[in-house]
């Protein structure tokens, strides 16, 4: 018997288990998946928890439920990968592999910024990229009397790069609905040159910040958080005061990647952009947030990657050349508040464009334009995630590579 081992039972790892079990002979291949946690989280839901739009039960389920029965699930901490010996060390157990899939994801590393984990952490400084952080922020917002709300990105890359912007838009709606928008000052702070950095998006979407009265501070690379004065301070001494700081700390790959010597300076694994094979070892493949590929760290990307990677694993096992297929395709709903959302579709080289999705001309969803239907699409996606995506069921009419049919590349500013 040969062994295929998947490290991580998050979105990407779970999808790979579901894709590969039917493709590999039961009498030839064992598939094992390892994850130290019992719970599987619907991470896009962390955006909605703070605003009481979702509750705990909608975003948290038992992970094992989504793993096929002929895949062995081991709930243990991964200690080290030893590629030279094709071995993975777990707590008190060693696994041999013929093929390894790394799907260990990424997570926030607040300890990377001086003063972030200090007296104000979880009192006036919060994250919403973890289940616990998101719930703590919800409790804070329920009683908050208003003041300066600063939504802040530490550095790129981050998981779901649009989430901080969505958070700002939803906060605007939330405080408006509570009748206290006039008591809240919202500032969006980014290390990049703007909230929208791709020319098509800048043109089409810049009106959003103005419309919602959200201030923006650009080119801000935080050096430390001053807990005494309640300010974030950048490398040039620029200071931005806050009463409530919602920060997206540095995102890093899992520490097991660093311990195994497989990562870059942020613990992301160097990975071929198109085949998803690791650059250092031919029998190690990488998927989802764990890779260093320049695609968004998002569930939709993992979903499209999974389809290509499942084919490539089979090709690799049978000794055929791999498909240079993955194009960086991402497809994301972006909440803009007031029960509206945008939908964007893009890849490594093509910027988000106008058009209809998934059917050219027919839609029904509009790309790069706000609509109520897109908002319902985003909410419906939670069902799709738990019931189709994780199980590796293809979403009808949505192809792994980006389609250019009916797309409009000449973007004009939105007329209001």
């Amino acid at each position: 018997m040969k062994n295929l081992v998947i490290l991580g039972a998050g979105t990407a790892g779970t999808m790979m288990a579901n894709h590969l079990r039917p493709k590999l002979y039961l009498n030839k291949w064992n598939i094992t998946i390892v994850d130290q946690y019992k719970a599987h989280y619907y991470q896009p839901g962390f955006l909605f928890l703070p605003f009481d739009i979702y509750n705990e039960n909608q975003v948290k389920k038992v992970g094992k439920k989504f793993i096929p029965k002929d895949v062995k699930y081991i709930q243990k901490k991964i200690e080290k990968i030893i590629p030279e010996e094709n071995k993975v060390e777990l707590e008190g157990e060693t696994l041999k592999y013929d093929v390894l899939i790394i799907a260990t994801g990424c997570k926030i590393a607040p300890e990377e910024t001086n003063g972030l984990i200090g007296p104000l952490w979880k009192k006036d400084i919060f994250d919403f990229y973890t289940y616990e952080g998101s719930l703590a922020l919800r409790d804070k917002l329920r009683d908050w009397q208003g003041g300066k709300l600063v939504v802040h990105i530490t550095e790129m890359p981050i998981k779901c790069p649009v989430a901080p912007l969505e958070f700002s838009f939803l906060a605007d709606s939330y405080f408006r609905d509570k009748g206290m928008r006039d008591k809240v000052d919202i500032t969006y702070v980014t290390p990049l040159t703007g909230a929208f950095t791709k020319p098509t998006c800048t043109t089409a979407l810049n009106y959003l910040l103005q419309e919602k009265g959200i201030k923006i501070e650009t080119d801000f690379a935080v050096e430390h958080v001053d807990n005494d004065t309640k300010e974030i301070v950048d490398y040039e001494g620029r200071r931005i005061p806050f009463d409530l700081l919602v920060t997206i700390p540095t995102n890093m790959g899992d520490e097991v990647i660093a311990k195994s010597g497989l990562g870059d300076d942020l613990n992301f694994v160097p990975t071929d952009h198109n085949t998803l094979q690791s650059k250092a070892h031919e029998n190690i493949f990488v998927i989802g947030d764990a890779t260093n590929v320049p695609a968004s760290k998002a569930g939709s990307v993992a979903h499209f990657e999974a389809e290509t990677l499942a084919d490539n694993i089979v090709l690799y096992i049978d000794g055929f050349p791999l498909k240079n297929e993955f194009d960086g395709h991402a497809n994301c709903f972006i909440e803009t508040g007031n029960n509206k959302a945008l939908l964007i579709d893009f890849n490594y080289v093509t910027e988000p464009v106008h058009g209809k999705f998934p059917f050219a001309k027919l839609g029904p969803l509009s790309l790069l334009k706000e609509s109520v239907l897109n908002h319902w699409g985003k909410l419906a996606f939670r069902w799709i995630y738990w019931n189709m995506l994780l199980k590796g069921i293809a979403i009808p009419f949505v192809s792994r590579n980006m389609s250019f049919k009916g797309k409009v590349f000449d973007i004009k500013p939105e007329k209001k």
Binding site: E155, M156, P157, P161, P191, T193, K198, Y235, P294, P352
Partner: protein
């Protein structure tokens, strides 16, 4: 996309003045873009610029952190070399694409 003459060479640039094609870059172009940004280029600047270009050719994402760990400069020094926009201005001068997010 527009065509602009920089240091006597016709180059393709984006709306905000970044080179479309990094192979059209040379040191004189770098100096002239830097001048527009009120930066006088030293050897240290060029060490950073060459590092950024190498990383870009290797298709690696650029972050302020990675430059800070390059062994060439730390982040504070990077800010001193390229005030007000360490990555924004250094990439513009290096003739590589502007660092972007997904939208």
């Amino acid at each position: 996309m527009a065509v602009k003459t920089i240091a006597g060479v016709e180059v393709k640039v984006t709306e905000d003045g970044y080179l479309e094609d990094m192979t059209q870059w040379n040191k004189e172009i770098a100096k002239e873009i830097a001048k527009e940004l009120s930066i006088e280029l030293t050897d240290k600047h060029f060490e950073v610029i060459n590092y950024l270009r190498d990383r870009t050719i290797a298709k690696e994402a650029l972050t302020i952190r990675s430059v800070g760990k390059s062994g060439i400069v730390d982040i504070k020094q990077l800010y001193e070399l390229f005030p007000k926009g360490p990555l924004k201005f250094s990439s513009k001068i290096a003739g590589i694409p502007k660092p972007t997010s997904c939208i």
